[in-house]
Amino acid sequence: MLKVLRLARRLAVGGVIVAGALSGPALAAETLKIGVVGGLTGPGAAWGLAIDAGAKIAAAEINAKGGLSIGGKPHTVEVVSYDDQYKAASAVTAVNRLIDQDEVKFILGPIGSASLLAIKPITERNKVILLSNTYTAKALENTGYVFRVLPTTQEYNASFIDWLKTNRPAIRSVALLSPNDETGWNSQKVQTEAYGKAGFTIAAAELFERQQTDFRAVLTRILASKPDAIELDTTPPPTAGLVVRQARELGFSGQFTKFGGVNVAEIVKGAGAENAEGMLGYFAADPDSKEWAWLQTEYAKHHPNEMSDFTFFFYDAAKLLLAAIGRAGTATDTDAVRAQIEQGAPFDTLLGKAFWGGKAAYGIDHQLVTPSFLGEIQKGKGKVIARLAAQ
């Protein structure tokens, strides 16, 4: 008898697990659901959490005003987030769940190229609008419903490199270091072309593996080519910090540039303030601005970690999307919403005026072009030294 009871208990536990996994949440009547897919746990989670927080801050803002009015009816905006752990299979699961169980028509994310390439056929087939950010050039190829809401090096690096040429004439040769994956290949190609076009010599172009922490060997190789500057490109900021420090220790005294995106706090943590001093880079936003301070306060309500500047883009993207849904007066006809998104430009964002571009590079105007900030690390803090308008 005891055995039977024990068995029954085990079965019940198993049953609960399976049932819990298979049941979908009930749909509230006047709710608009926005999906989020991103790496929320594991390495790189800071970016996934930026999507999640960006969407949630925008939702909270509009809910506080009584919800989003769609066709005259107020809707509470609900954000449904799933973790893709940067894996294609998990992203597909997340998107399937969002589309099928949660009946979501609008998704923010994902970040990883593999995730995006794996889910794109599904979202396109289901006419689901995807406000994404991946560096892969294929993100916007043959798409109708995908928008990229974050500028890539392609969008701004020419003006940055021009600035460098004018303001730092001593720099003639540049060595590039990028991660060995789709993001790195792509951005390194773009950077190589842009630096070449501007008349710089490419002293070296190296790739590294993402989990690497020790760069002395590859730096020895780079330093042998005697570059005036090292461009860290899309190297993740914490890793970039380590590279900077190890390069300084190996005796490199030249300029560091990072036109693939800078997170000052993370770089300074890895490099130490004295080593990071003078690094030039692309800042998504001005860390000294009141917008930054406000967003950071809001971010802290959702996640305990330090805010990534990606939060700006996804906050703006979520607002952009909600406004478009409101104007379209429908939360089901994604064609109408898409038209509203496309027509809305130029928009006011936290960063300033932004608009859609990208036709020349990707064949469709689904690339968000925002103002960009050229910043310098001074005494461990980020200082914006030039503001470059969206172009």
Binding site: T41, G42, A45, T213, D214, A224, G241, G251, G270, P304
Partner: protein, 282 residues
């Protein structure tokens, strides 16, 4: 360039030894391939971070405490989780994977996923010819080598070390000498984790700290131990040097990804010729 490569190789080798010795010790004694070994490295690093930034301790005090903490947790893990798997290679391996996931998750909850860094206790560089030698790395390498030497003395010169070597070679016969292998397991596991924690505590100021840092560490430990022969201390030391030199040379002259591929192909080649590794005996 050659001098620089050799210096890089020497420093990586010392760290690899520290990483691999604990791993190989735990396998040698308990026959458990501890996939959570890298997480004990992570624990050591976070302990230093918490003790220095949280409690305001100096690095000199935090370093031994962090290693002891990792060792203590390892001891607990042996008691609570691994004891039952001594000799069951498959079961122990799976339990260690579960522990690795749990510890990563716990670190992410406790410390958030942010990368953290620890103030360096030593700064500046030494120059030897045209080669450059950062002093903090020199310190780490020196300390690691000293720890390896201390471990060597413990194993070679003490009764406890004798018992450890004996149980690794033939646990049943050790029982016939009146010593229970089970009494050695917690200490062996604890020392293995202590060495891992020490590696983490030593490298904490060198690199950044995050909940998933253990995966890189375990990969290195794995390659070294497989190359050197599971459970073989001299093998692990030889393989550390081999891996350190190969990596430094290949990534300097051919590139980083080539180095990864080379190390795995080398592992396969050596295992095919000598399945028990460089220092292993069938």
């Amino acid at each position: 360039m050659l001098t620089q490569v050799l210096l890089i190789a020497a420093m990586s080798s010392a760290l690899y030894m520290l990483l691999a010795l604990g791993f190989t010790l735990i396998f040698g004694i308990l026959r458990i391939v501890n996939f959570a070994h890298g997480e004990f490295v992570m624990i050591g690093a976070y302990a230093v971070f918490a003790l220095t930034s949280g409690l305001g301790l100096g690095y000199a005090a935090a370093l031994p405490l962090a290693a002891l903490l990792a060792g203590g947790l390892g001891l607990l893990a042996e008691r609570a989780l691994f004891r039952r798997y001594a000799g069951d290679e498959l079961g122990g391996m799976i339990m260690s994977l579960a522990l690795a996931i749990t510890l990563q998750g716990a670190a992410a909850v406790l410390f958030t996923i942010d990368q953290q860094s620890v103030e360096r206790p030593v700064t500046g560089v030494l120059r030897i010819g045209d080669a450059v030698l950062p002093k903090d790395q020199l310190f780490v390498a020196g300390f690691a080598l000293a720890a390896v030497a201390a471990f060597h003395l413990l194993v070679q010169r003490t009764r406890f070390g004798l018992a450890l070597r004996a149980v690794a070679q033939d646990p049943e016969t050790l029982r016939l000498q009146g010593v229970s292998p089970r009494r050695l397991y917690p200490a062996a596991f604890g020392i293995g984790c202590l060495l891992a924690g020490l590696a983490g505590a030593l490298t904490a100021p060198l690199y950044t700290i995050h909940p998933y840092m253990g995966e890189t560490a375990i990969l290195k430990a794995f390659i070294v131990v497989v190359l050197g022969g599971l459970g073989s201390v001299p093998g692990a030391i030889a393989a550390s040097v081999l891996l350190g030199v190969t990596e430094a040379a290949v990534s300097t002259w051919l590139g980083v990804t080539a180095a990864t591929l080379t190390s795995f192909v080398a592992v396969m080649a050596i295992l095919l010729v000598k399945p028990t590794g460089l220092g292993g005996r069938a």
